[in-house]
Amino acid sequence: MSNALARDYRIDAETIRRTSAAGLGDAEWYKSPIPRKQLKELMQRRDGPAIRDTILWFALLIGSGVGGFLTFGTWWAVPCFFVYGVLYGGSTDSRWHECGHRTAFKTTWMNDWLYALASFMVFREPTLWRWSHTRHHTDTIIVGRDPEIGAMRPPDIAGMLLNVFALKSTWVSLQGVLRHAAGRVNETEATFLPESERPKVYRTARIWLAIYAATIALAIGTGSLLPLLYVGLPTLYGGWFVIFVGLTQHAGLAEDVLDHRLNARTVYMNPVIRFLYWNMNYHVEHHMFPMVPFYSLPKLHEAMKADCPPPYPSILAAYREIIPTLIRQLKDPTYFVVRPLPAGAKPFSAYAPFAEEGSMVKT
């Protein structure tokens, strides 16, 4: 469906130049005032919380995996693989994310090791996505620069539904892995991936293809689906968790603003989901201060909430806003949710907020 007001989300050398000229690229973002001493305390790294969570995470993965093996062929296998899938294809996203920032553990090799493993499990090439996510933090929801905008205007509802089983995201990633295994990057990747990093991308893509080829060969050789239920397919059947919590981060909010209070959500979630999600429900806080590790985000939230829009009390509350907004954006892509700043909060960036209308509209 064509829409004259649809925004153009392509990223290439021209969009980078245009957004830079507009003052939106690599810009100065708003930061809530937090004393340096307090921020230093919040940034302190520890190994303990992430080691504890990782041991529990592996125990649950192994437990549900063994349960699925022992009950395979019965209905009891369904809940076992459901849990395995949520852990493998869902919660791994947060492990990938936090270790990508190198904030989960104090010890660098622990971050890098879990990042490599989690990247494989969620099927995101580690080097490529580190640079992609770097851009997401530099230019959060800046159209023409941010490669990780999940809900465009108008939204791709079919794509979102496909991603309930990670089908669209996996298809895009698979094309990338094949492209990189052949030693090539595309135009968008070339805008954020330095030449010096590309050999690593190519090498990893070839290793991954070899692992998946071996897994498929094992499934064929044994005449059983089981190998693929443990490696590969859980990225798909557990992928719903990624979009379920991930959409709450930015969907329906403003684009092209230099203030994370206006383009990200903080949503209160229960302890189980916060374990699976490693506190990324404090998303305004994470974007404004990405050096603060996941286990300190609740304290950071307390420190800055007086300067932020009210948090959403639940996932349900967030979706009560997101779903009608996405539906309305199907017909009116200029519509978005304006987050209210509390009385007394510092104003957002002086750079013309909400200036995106008309700036990059398809003609």
Binding site: D26, M43, K106, R130, H137, E197, P290
Partner: protein, 106 residues
Amino acid sequence: MSEGWVEACGADEIEVEDVRPFDHGGRSYALYRTGSGEYFASDGMCTHEAADLTEGFVIGSVIECPRHNGRFDIRTGKALAAPVCVDLVTYPVKVEDGRVWVKIGG
């Protein structure tokens, strides 16, 4: 100032395992005190996307950029972890009579 040495600040104005800014001649510098109490200096901006390193986090003898968590060795300026790839320019530092001096020119 002699032989390019510039007086920057008092030694006790930088906490252990911390960083503070120093501006001179229209340029910004970062002054560090490592976890072991040694002093170092570098350019103030990250070589990746010009974020202000003095808002970063010092871990032992490593400075972590506040924007993307890229890391440099404070002692040598060496880029340690993506997304930083280009080393940081460092400057000699000395502490005399409780004052920190940085050799910027000369």
